[in-house]
Amino acid sequence: MTDTTQETSGPMLAADGTPLKRSLAKALRAQKLRALALIAPLLLFVLITFIAPIADMLFRSVDDSQQGTVHGTMPLTAEALKDWDSSTGELPDNAVFDAVYTDIFVAAENKLHTRVGSRLNYERTGSSSLFRKTGRGLDDIGEVYQDQFEDLDPDWDEGTPWAELMGSPDWLTSMQGWEDGQPLPPFELRDGVADLLPRTAAIYRVFADFQIEEEEKSLLDEEPWSIVHTRLYEDLRDGDFSTYAGPRADMVKAADALVDTAEFETIALKDGFEAIDEDWLDIGLWQTIKAYSTSYTAGYFLNAVDMQKTPEGVALRDENQRIYGLLFKRTMFMSMVITFSCIMLAYPVAYLLANLPMRTANLLMILVLLPFWTSLLVRTSAWKVMLQQQGVINDVLVWIGIVGDDARLVMINNQLGTIIAMTHILLPFMILPMYSVMSTIPPYYVRAAKSLGATNWTSFWRVYFPQSVPGIGAGSILVFILAIGYYITPEIVGGNTGTFISNRIAYHISSSLNWGLAAALGSILLAAVLILYWAYDRIVGIDNVKLGG
């Protein structure tokens, strides 16, 4: 063999004649590909079912372009407010009021204005009722014109004349042939009407689309919204109709003449809004709307750390509105207390288990593993049974006379209840890593220390304890990570003072429907957990997580 290699002196060849190096690389690549092919389905599964939702949540915490936000539901306002300088202290001009008028009117028809109201209410209290009121009151502005046009000619309050005026002849024909049950023909504007009555045509188009797509009603039967009349007035005021000869020319000309008379009653938009609610003349409201009219916002995050945007920049909220800082602090503090009590209780047990003979240790291990395997709900309900005022512990204490019947201890629906129950629930997660570290500590170091004259305490503290610290570290991080995200137990035994940030997140998802804030709070919590997870991976290694001994 040695002879041949020396003779050829070229690269080593595999059996099929390719160089060995290349052949090896090929085999290695095939191996890698096979491994990836085996992992790929699961990876894809986890990415779709788990990572994508988390990413979605992160996105939601800054997203402000959904329906029900200023950007999503009041696009004209968001656009118009771009030119307004919020720091001058002057109210926005008429163009902005005009945009708000259209936006809220359309939103109210779509029943979205209350959602914008609630969205802004997170930033400025009172917005919710303001928007609800405004949605109801905006008709007052349009009706000023609507009534006058109707008095002039009742046809102005009918569906068909409007449809003839605004719609294209083709559309009108198919509309007239429409019968119930068929799909409605999509609306088309008549040629030239957009030049003749630009504003009216624009809002009528929105009205028509809404009737056809949302309400599925015939435009021939539906009188237009009051805002259409307002726009008609504006167009008539500004335009010249003497040469108009299209459909309903008489109606239009008569109305044009009416608008030009001195008796024709008009109302400035600003006054109309003031009549609905004086808040519309408050500069602070406009500042809030402008601040939250972008499609991405830091507002939810600011809210989650008790701050808000003000014209002067970012600032802390009023003292009485700061709740999340307190909640985060409480979550951290209680998780630390729970972790600490777990260390105190787990250390002796783990030490005992690690130093007992195998058979006894395995038996006692069952006492640790049984709670670990028992349903969380079972353990939580057990603690509810134990801790409540008419519960087992209080009954026993009263029976043996330590506490009076009228002075039963309050151990539930407060922080104490949460701490006791969660310490119990998380204790196995501390004992198991500690045990696995302690059972690898060789006993002869302590013996050596003692034979060198160390006292019991010194040999424990200077020799044994330092070797067991990795177990404490692993267990503590695990317990802490689990504790700060806990929801069920604090919800049931925590009352008002013993709840965590998770309970607030759940509240915002299911009760207050402030999903953005829930997402922002969740993102902050997630960041905290990921930092701890990273630390855990560095200290323990994620591959070394052990389950059940």
Partner: protein, 394 residues
């Protein structure tokens, strides 16, 4: 040969006061239950010290068994006089314990398992430490044990009624179990749990096992990153997973569907499968698959005939973990599911929040029994797999 410590009789001047002290401790509780703490304390001390003197000094050591029985009977009778049936039980327990304790102490038997050179302080610490550990074990196990008898309560109370303490049969009933088995809500919840958990388990076990085999190869690119992603459902707090899934699944129309809940639970179970199966694969001898391939088996045959039987214990216990994860899970199902997917834990959660009925305790007892069964299975599997891999004798 190891040095054996001999049991040496202890002086009565030491034993009597210690026995008296333990008697005083017990006496405090008996006294408190009967009105006077101080009297109980003094009487307990006196009685126990006297008993210790009588048993150890007066009686012949050969009469130990008889003496213990007499003490047991006497204490039980005294307890019955003081507190009826519960008193009988407590008294009997006291009698049994003190009989054992006095002889254990007086005859110096407590020294036997310890090295002879230990000082008195070290001996005290040795047993004191065990008492501390014992009380922590009590803390761990009591809540679970307390639930069981309470589930047989005849009343709708979450605590022991006087009838139960008197062992009056009228105080016990199976009515909460009957409620559970006849209530349509609970049965629907049970059915949902039994549909969702197995489906989620099958999903996570089949994907998870394949991936674990892939991950256990020697040359896996981005191994750490992939592992971190696959383990993340276990680390991310449930409320965050639940929130994210709620948002995302409503976007793609899975929110409120059975499929959505199953997928979510499968994702949560995957880390457990990955961890247990990769741990099993650490001990797997790769030359076995090579040998199979050498003899002409294709990869699929090799997998099912050679690899699978060997890693099966790991796969099964991973599956059990995944099952219990889904079976116990409540946060995600609350958000991702709708009322039609209400599972057992969800029903319990609602019940606990609104305090409707102690049927919860009956369900809890059933669940404890299920978890004992699962725990036993997992432990047996673990031992079997360790034995197969030669990691532990036994």
């Amino acid at each position: 040969m190891a040095v054996e410590t001999q049991a040496v009789k202890r002086p009565i001047q030491f034993v009597a006061p210690v026995a008296g002290a333990s008697g005083a401790f017990a006496g405090v509780f008996v006294g408190a239950a009967n009105g006077s703490v101080l009297l109980g304390l003094l009487l307990g001390f006196g009685i126990l010290a006297t008993i210790a003197v009588v048993l150890l000094e007066v009686l012949d050591p050969g009469l130990e068994k008889t003496a213990k029985w007499v003490l047991f009977a006497a204490m039980a009778a005294a307890g019955f006089l003081l507190g009826g049936l519960p008193g009988l039980v407590v008294g009997g327990l006291f009698g049994w314990f003190f009989g054992w304790f006095i002889y254990w102490l007086g005859m110096g038997r407590y020294r036997v398992p310890l090295p002879p050179y230990l000082t008195a302080g070290q001996v005290l610490w040795h047993y004191g430490f065990r008492v501390i550990c014992g009380s922590i074990f009590v803390f761990l196990i009591t809540p679970i044990l307390v639930v069981m008898p309470l589930s047989f309560n005849a009343q709708d109370f979450f605590t022991f009624t006087p009838e139960m303490l008197r062992f009056d049969p009228a105080g016990y009933s199976l009515k909460h179990y009957r409620d559970f088995f006849t209530s349509s809500e609970w049965q629907q919840a049970l059915r949902n749990s039994l549909i969702i958990a197995p489906l989620a388990t099958v999903l996570s076990v089949s994907f998870g096992t394949l991936a674990a085999i892939g991950l256990s190869g020697e040359h896996v690119p981005f191994r750490r990153a992939i592992m971190a992603i696959l383990i993340s459902p276990m680390i991310v707090p449930l409320i965050i997973s639940a929130a994210g899934m709620y948002f995302f699944y409503s976007r793609i129309g899975l929110q409120g569907t059975l499929l959505g809940v199953v997928l979510a639970h499968a994702a949560l179970g995957i880390p457990f499968v990955i961890i247990t199966v990769t741990a099993t694969l650490v001990g797997f001898d790769r030359s076995l698959t090579r040998a199979a391939a050498n003899m002409g088996a294709d990869p699929v045959t090799t997998f099912f005939r050679v690899q699978m039987p060997l890693i099966l214990p790991g796969v099964i216990s991973g599956g059990l973990f995944a099952f219990i994860t889904s079976f116990d899970e409540v946060v995600v199902v609350i958000f991702v599911g709708s009322a039609r997917q209400q599972t057992l834990p969800w029903q319990m959660f609602t019940g606990l929040r609104e305090q409707i009925s102690p049927t919860i305790l009956a369900v809890a007892t059933i669940l404890v029994i299920i978890s004992i069964a699962l725990l036993t299975t997992v432990e047996l599997l673990r031992r079997r797999s360790e034995k197969m891999r030669g990691l532990s004798p036994g």
